[in-house]
């Protein structure tokens, strides 16, 4: 599927499309919170409310053959990379129809056909494999790029440093997208990062680094396109330092006692990427409501699909261990 490279501004239609995708992610995540509270979704859930523009801006810039690896906060990336909400919801419900067939759950979402090499529950755990995938592309002379998502907290762990170091050393076609939302679970940046500008971490390894406003989907998209070109042309990996906001708790149910009381309401006012894009595109209320209805319908349908899905047999646990 050939994709015309967009230089310069994105068309209204494309932005509308991005908006729909971001809205879908938002409604999906809200539904996930609701279903969790109803006691239907087991395990951990980490929703990406507030970070939709990063997921959509990056993933929509990718071409066929590019791959991503995500984090514990993977729903947004997974949807933006093309997995249908039905399959994602079914996975959260632990059904065979889920994208990981019930074996992975929220933090181990895989959709290999669509280039999703898996979400990782170990902070920084997926980065070395992205370096490796990019190495494979380079050795085989393929014009593909491997993209890793991770947070600001992850930039403290050894795997990330080793991966950046090696990726730059070997000049592999990789993109390291750091979603800097200022929080590592309950620990604010001030308590875990001795520096403020995380792009310096990449520069320390000699890697090209770009800082981006993660709440502006156009800016994210543009920066990604440029970074991809850089990598594809063999100039080496790029570190995208994306400043974004987590407009929700670390996990669903997190009372966020550690967060200053006024922060969330203020951020929701000023930093909601969906509101920003909506304002930018100037939708009439009816148009927005129509889109919202459609998003809700898709999400409701995904819950029905999931609930009607097939439970694995207990003995299915013994399958898929070895190739």
């Amino acid at each position: 599927m050939a994709k015309v490279e967009k230089r310069g501004a994105l068309s209204e239609d494309t932005l509308r499309d991005f908006f729909r995708e971001m809205l879908l992610i938002r409604r999906f995540e809200e539904k996930v919170e609701e279903r969790f509270r109803a006691g239907e979704l087991p395990g951990f859930l980490h929703v990406a409310i507030g970070q939709e523009a990063v997921a959509v801006g990056v993933c929509r810039a990718l071409e066929e053959g590019d791959v991503i690896a995500s984090t514990h906060r993977a729903h947004g990336h997974t949807l933006a990379k093309g997995t249908h909400p039905n399959e994602l919801m079914a996975e959260l419900y632990g059904k065979l129809e889920g994208c990981s067939h019930g074996y992975g759950g929220s933090m181990h979402l895989y959709d290999v056909e669509r280039g999703n090499m898996g979400a990782n529950a170990v902070v920084g755990g997926g980065l070395p494999a992205v370096t490796g995938a990019a190495l494979a592309f380079k050795l085989r002379d393929e014009p593909r790029v491997a993209v890793a998502f991770f947070g600001d907290g992850a930039t403290n762990i050894g795997t990330v440093h080793e991966s950046l170091n090696l990726a730059q050393l070997w000049r592999v076609p990789a993109l390291f997208v750091c979603e800097d939302n200022g929080w590592a679970e309950s620990t604010p940046a001030s308590q875990q990062l001795p520096i403020e500008d995380l792009s310096k971490r990449a520069e320390a390894y000699g890697m090209r680094a770009v800082t981006v406003d993660g709440q502006d989907v156009e800016e994210v998209h543009r920066a990604t396109i440029e970074a991809l070109a850089h990598a594809r042309e063999g100039h080496g990996p790029v570190f995208l330092h994306v400043r974004t906001y987590r407009l929700t708790g670390h996990y669903v149910g997190d009372p966020q006692v550690y967060r200053p009381k006024d922060e969330l309401p203020r951020l929701r006012e000023t930093e909601d990427p969906i509101t920003k894009l909506r304002d930018r595109l100037g939708f009439a209320d009816e148009e927005f409501e129509q889109m919202d209805r459609e998003a809700h319908e898709l999400v409701e349908a995904s819950v029905e699909f999931a609930k009607a899905g097939t439970d694995p047999k207990p003995e299915d646990a013994l399958k898929n261990l070895y190739a």
């Binding site: 609701e34 969790f36 509270r37 109803a38 006691g39 239907e40 979704l41 087991p42 395990g43 951990f44 859930l45 632990g94 670390h250 996990y251 149910g253 997190d254 009372p255 006692v257 439970d311 047999k313 207990p314 003995e315 646990a317």
Partner: protein, 422 residues
């Protein structure tokens, strides 16, 4: 349509929460996502947002502890009628307040408890196989006696030969208990001082099987018919057969003759060579006759196959071989399966007549008593004849009195005049 607001489970292990105060009053407009009330969950006090938009029609619980899932308010359209939900401001006795409920990530998702139960059950089902009760075999072909290390040690210490023991452990292995039992069984019965205690002999697996099958048999509606046969000709037949047997060979017994006679009779009365099968009576093609063999603590019925085509000499050899193997505990499952008729003989104990219990699903079983000289009436005169009484127990679901009687008559006739069986 009004929406009931229920207390949400905000974290793993949260069973209840305490409403501190409401941030909206009854009658006020509420937007979904707006903070609605303050909730205290032991570790933290937090604002909880409204799940729906509309008018706060009713506050069911104004303050205090509420279990998770309880309706605490109703939001709907202005003027909607709301039936007061079971508003209990009292805390249920079942909800304990003392429990520490730390805010934890993740949830067990109580709605999935059934799934968990299913997985758990499937997991243990696989390992709790009910094994078939196998005929115990203490010695195997390679000469190794299967016994646990503990059993060996006890046997060694007490000078007991393992080879003489029957095992009741896993897979018929001899275990310590088996050795203990052997060690304490005295050869002579002494008159012990009666303290009046009841000795409880636990059922061996063999006894359990017998008990189960006999109970099963008892459920079939059964009737019995008896006849006595003049065994004069049978006695002659036997001595002639014995003469022909080589040194060391199997000497045909009256039981062997009886087996052959019954087989011939069964082929003439096919209705008796049958078994009950719920919705049909299966007439079997061959007379596979089971012979009841007493073993210590029980009764086992190995089967001699196709008796209708085998000569008495061959039946004698096979029957003897089966009895030997039975007593040595070397029977195989196939020796016990598929019989069409059974003969039980208590003649050697001097029993004149008895009634055997059916061997389900077989249609009939023949109980045979002792062969005795008895006074009989012949042509108005008293004569002495070797006589044997036979009692046929029949499953009334498969057989009627007339058919059974005709069969038994045939058996009697054949015994009294063997040539009739040709």
């Amino acid at each position: 349509m009004a929406t009931e607001i229920k207390l949400p489970r905000l974290g793993q292990g949260m069973e209840a929460g305490t409403i501190v105060r409401w941030l909206k009053s009854e009658g006020e407009q509420v937007e979904k996502g707006e903070p609605l009330y303050e909730l205290d969950t032991d570790k933290v006090t937090q604002e909880v947002e409204a799940d729906a938009s509309g008018v706060l029609l009713k506050i069911a619980v104004s303050e205090g502890e509420v279990p998770v899932g309880r309706t605490i308010a109703v939001i709907g359209e202005e003027g909607e009628q709301v039936s007061a939900p079971e508003a209990e401001t009292e805390v249920d006795g079942a909800v304990t307040e003392a429990d520490e409920q730390p805010q934890e990530e993740g949830s067990r998702a109580p709605a999935r408890d059934e799934d968990r139960a299913r997985g758990k059950q499937a997991s243990t089902n696989g390992s709790e196989q009910v094994t078939e009760i196998k005929t115990p075999e203490p010695a195997r072909a390679d000469g190794r006696v299967r016994a646990s290390p503990l059993a060996r040690r006890i046997a060694r210490e007490r000078g007991i030969d393992l080879g003489s023991l029957r095992g009741t452990g896993p897979e018929g292995r001899i275990v310590a208990e088996d050795v203990d039992r052997a060690a304490t069984a005295p050869a002579v019965v002494t008159v012990a001082d009666r303290t009046g205690e009841v000795e409880r002999v636990p059922l061996t697996s063999l006894r359990k099987t017998i008990a189960r099958r006999m109970t099963e048999a008892w459920q079939a509606p059964a009737f019995q018919i008896s006849m006595s046969a003049d065994m004069t000709r049978a006695v002659e037949l036997r001595s002639r057969l014995v003469e022909r047997v080589k040194e060391g060979g199997a000497r045909p017994s009256y039981n062997d003759i009886l087996i052959k006679v019954c087989a011939a009779a069964l082929m003439r009365h096919r209705d008796v060579n049958a078994r009950f099968a719920d919705d049909a009576v299966e007439l079997l093609p061959s007379a596979d006759i089971g012979i009841a063999v007493a073993v210590p603590n029980g009764l086992i019925v190995p089967v001699v196959r196709a008796c209708e085509v085998k000569p008495i000499e061959q039946i004698a050899v096979e029957a003897r071989e089966l009895v030997t193997r039975t007593r040595e505990g070397k029977l195989r499952q196939e020796d016990l399966e598929g019989g069409s008729f059974t003969i039980s003989n208590l003649g050697m104990y001097g029993v004149e007549q008895f009634t055997a219990v059916l061997n389900p699903p077989q249609a009939a079983i023949l109980a045979v008593g002792a062969l005795d000289e008895r006074a009989v009436v012949e042509n108005g005169q008293v004569a002495i004849r070797p006589t044997m009484t036979m009692t046929l127990t029949c499953d009334h679901r498969s057989l009627d009195g007339a058919t059974a009687s005709e069969f038994l008559r045939t058996v009697k006739d054949f015994l009294e005049e063997p040539g009739l069986a040709l």
